[in-house]
Subunit: 306 residues, 4 copies
Amino acid sequence: MFFLKKNDLFSTFDIVSHQNSKANWKDKLHEIIYEADTPAGKLFDVILLIAILASIILVMLESISSFDVKYHTFLDISEWVITILFSLEYIARIISVRKPLKYIFSFYGIIDFLSTIPKYISLFLAGTHALVALRALRLLRVFRILKLARYLGASNQLANAIKASRAKIAVFLFAVLIAAVIFGTIMYLVEGEENGFTNIPKSVYWCIVTLTTVGFGDIAPATPLGQFIATIIMILGYGIIAVPTGIVSAEYTKADSENKNKFTDEELEHQKNLQLNTQCCVNCLAEKHQDGAEFCHKCGCRLHHD
Amino acid sequence: MFFLKKNDLFSTFDIVSHQNSKANWKDKLHEIIYEADTPAGKLFDVILLIAILASIILVMLESISSFDVKYHTFLDISEWVITILFSLEYIARIISVRKPLKYIFSFYGIIDFLSTIPKYISLFLAGTHALVALRALRLLRVFRILKLARYLGASNQLANAIKASRAKIAVFLFAVLIAAVIFGTIMYLVEGEENGFTNIPKSVYWCIVTLTTVGFGDIAPATPLGQFIATIIMILGYGIIAVPTGIVSAEYTKADSENKNKFTDEELEHQKNLQLNTQCCVNCLAEKHQDGAEFCHKCGCRLHHD
Amino acid sequence: MFFLKKNDLFSTFDIVSHQNSKANWKDKLHEIIYEADTPAGKLFDVILLIAILASIILVMLESISSFDVKYHTFLDISEWVITILFSLEYIARIISVRKPLKYIFSFYGIIDFLSTIPKYISLFLAGTHALVALRALRLLRVFRILKLARYLGASNQLANAIKASRAKIAVFLFAVLIAAVIFGTIMYLVEGEENGFTNIPKSVYWCIVTLTTVGFGDIAPATPLGQFIATIIMILGYGIIAVPTGIVSAEYTKADSENKNKFTDEELEHQKNLQLNTQCCVNCLAEKHQDGAEFCHKCGCRLHHD
Amino acid sequence: MFFLKKNDLFSTFDIVSHQNSKANWKDKLHEIIYEADTPAGKLFDVILLIAILASIILVMLESISSFDVKYHTFLDISEWVITILFSLEYIARIISVRKPLKYIFSFYGIIDFLSTIPKYISLFLAGTHALVALRALRLLRVFRILKLARYLGASNQLANAIKASRAKIAVFLFAVLIAAVIFGTIMYLVEGEENGFTNIPKSVYWCIVTLTTVGFGDIAPATPLGQFIATIIMILGYGIIAVPTGIVSAEYTKADSENKNKFTDEELEHQKNLQLNTQCCVNCLAEKHQDGAEFCHKCGCRLHHD
């Protein structure tokens, strides 16, 4: 299609109409499946969303044994319906992209495959059916479909705040982990196997349970010295919970005020629009195209317009 | 009180003063029940507050079986006294409003009905008495009576901060929920039924208990791999608790400083007064009238003045 | 020390120096007990601090039955020594103040009395000895002795921040309480007595345990619906924990920046000194006198100087 | 490497180049072990890091009794290999420093000794082997090796924020501790031994578990009054968790903005470089030398350069 550009003097859109019907059909499919700007695309997204939620609920109901016994046939049929729908979607996604391998080995491609295949395998191999539960990972697609990011506010202060404080929080959590290993080892020496601290990994697990103020109580110190050290760990955990919170809120305030200085209101509005644009390149699946963009900003392939 | 205004030449509101004495009696009742500017209105609010608290305490005492056995007659009589008082209040509220249906189907109208009716039904049908406990919802009225909102500070920075960060926190909690479903499913596969993770919904419930750092301990991972994943979930929960806190405190600081720039001290004082005005339209129950307002800003109906 | 001032021509405070030696002895005692500017006063404070800590540790050791059985005589004698010391201190405090009743019925006066008397009563009445544990309240004096407030930073931003957000946090906690009553009642209806929710107060208690993310696990929902509602309560608790934190940190930042604008560095230094001044009026026990002040700012009585 | 400087006419440090080859060999060793600027130094650090992690994992595996029984010989041999490696490192560290005692009695020196010696002692004395677990403390060295501090951001706002709020948080935690003692004592009086509150220290331990929102549930109030007091403690803990968080985030914001005013971008860049410089004085082990520094800023001893 790029060759058509050669003859083009003024019009830049003639070429699209010269594409053969097969390519058009594929492009249309791409538009429906990967984008959400057309009514058909929106409808597809809504149906997909409902199908994903239905499949998750199905998996949940199946896991409740009393329910599974009662309605086994119904659940099995529904499961097959969903599986076939997802298989069709998976095939359609592969067909409509110019570089199918790029989709197949993308994050969502692998998830889509893993959430479809277990049902087929379960025909030959027993026990693998439980892997259907991996379908829960498809929930991540909800983020893309609902475009939840845009609710997080214009110009993504939150994302910036988290990005800016990511390294700090990582180091912080790493420090928490080291503290957990050290205190866990000490607790193992102090409490010993008879009080539930049967080995160091379990003791470290207990320590994290305590430091994060979760406190299951499945293991709890029984000796006075162990309880004393537990007290120190808890107060430590209570004191340091302030640090990541402090980091994020400070970075958030900063990102917010910096944003205000850097961008005019017009630019912020523009940024917001950028996020709402759902176009997706037919060739390389790149996103975040500008409104009115004619070509993909990544691979130079032409974008669709209605 | 309206008669004083009758002789006013420039007054254009003569009609109001021509209302018959019955309407006046109704208006007075409206003033007592719905407003708190007159001594009678204040007294009514205080009595209502005490009655609500007493009714809650009664329901609580009744639920303690050892107490119920001992003082059954006393509790039953008190319950009837409260129920009749609430019924009278309910009828008075209906009578004193011009558009009773508006009250009946309002939020508080439904709660008032639901907290009165179960006792009557319990005469004919056994077992419905437990619904009396729904009376706890009447506690929400305490907010209106005590006008707690005004303690939250002039110009409602807090409300603005929460409103501004509402969408963000909602998306955030939604993300937490999706993480809970995914991790819950993984934990179900890892731990299995023998360790208490009997089905996926229960596993998701456990995951939320852990992510929110509540940690009941009614279910706890027993396998090393399960404990390892639990560790990741806890540290994740510990790390992300910083995000909503950061959002709220940043928004709060922002709302605070924006407020300072937008409004002069006089305007803030005025806003505060607006919140303290307890007038409530006789016709449409609209609130937040300005001091000295003659007509309802919603339906144009005349407001009362002493 | 007052005699040095006698010859002062312009002094108008001659009367003070005419007090008899008994008053002077009392004043000295007052200075030692209530103030910390003289070496003797400091020594007294340090000894009192050690005595309080020792008495707390004694009470703790006594409560450990295995320890009490072994060292009963030693603990009993130590207990009597501490009690007699505290009694002497109590009497000395009464003697050295001009208005003893003011001390006796002050907060610390009542605590001092309650932490001394149980041991004497235990001679006549068995069982009252446990009240010795009330001595823990004397720990509050540690704050005054160590003057911990000054570590909280010049100009008391923290105190201001807490004071400014006190009403808001109170309303907030009140809202949490109402939510706990409503959700507690619902959980009682849903879970019922067979799952540990034996009555509404217990159900409300469970609800607060959950909302505050403490999560003991002594009571835990067992029905799917109950677990679903518990999930909502937990996510609610997780979301709203952000609010008081946001309030405090915003107020703290505000108090901090306002302070900077309001006061010069000199004034801040002065404020700090004010906090470190430990003088305490002989007559009315008022504190926070300025450096170099001659008279009490509350009752006009002369202050001591070395 | 020093020979390159020999011909320098203006150099006044000729003496250094006259050191005998033995000293040079020691200096080289010092550079490899204590610094990370040379390839050899980096390699040493990476190997040490792997060895420490391997030793921690070994200790953990050994503590799992089922694993220890199966692979006892393998674990024992690996343990000896690690111990001998650590011993060699310990000796090398002592040899390569000019003042060995300074290293031996430094924090890391003591940890290195304690993590090496237990294995040797276990040859003569049984039971001391468990102390090998103290090796977990060597994990602290990871901080130095990975130079994690630099991820915490240029100019150390976080460190400043924590330093600035350290005293406040300490006082705050002290207040929490006093509250725990007082409430713990009250709970001991209220609940008594029959409900798990067997003595005051245990009761105080429970109180800290509750105040910090950990909530193990190993001890839980059973009487209505005890549950009521527990409710107060929990709401208190929920309310005050806001304070340290507020302090840290306010201080962090402050440190951040002060930093911006105080330092130019160039200075911040310089500060960052300072932190990345890993040179370590051969004589006194001082660190944080400036880039291009010739002499130790602490003891004046010459620094190495490649």
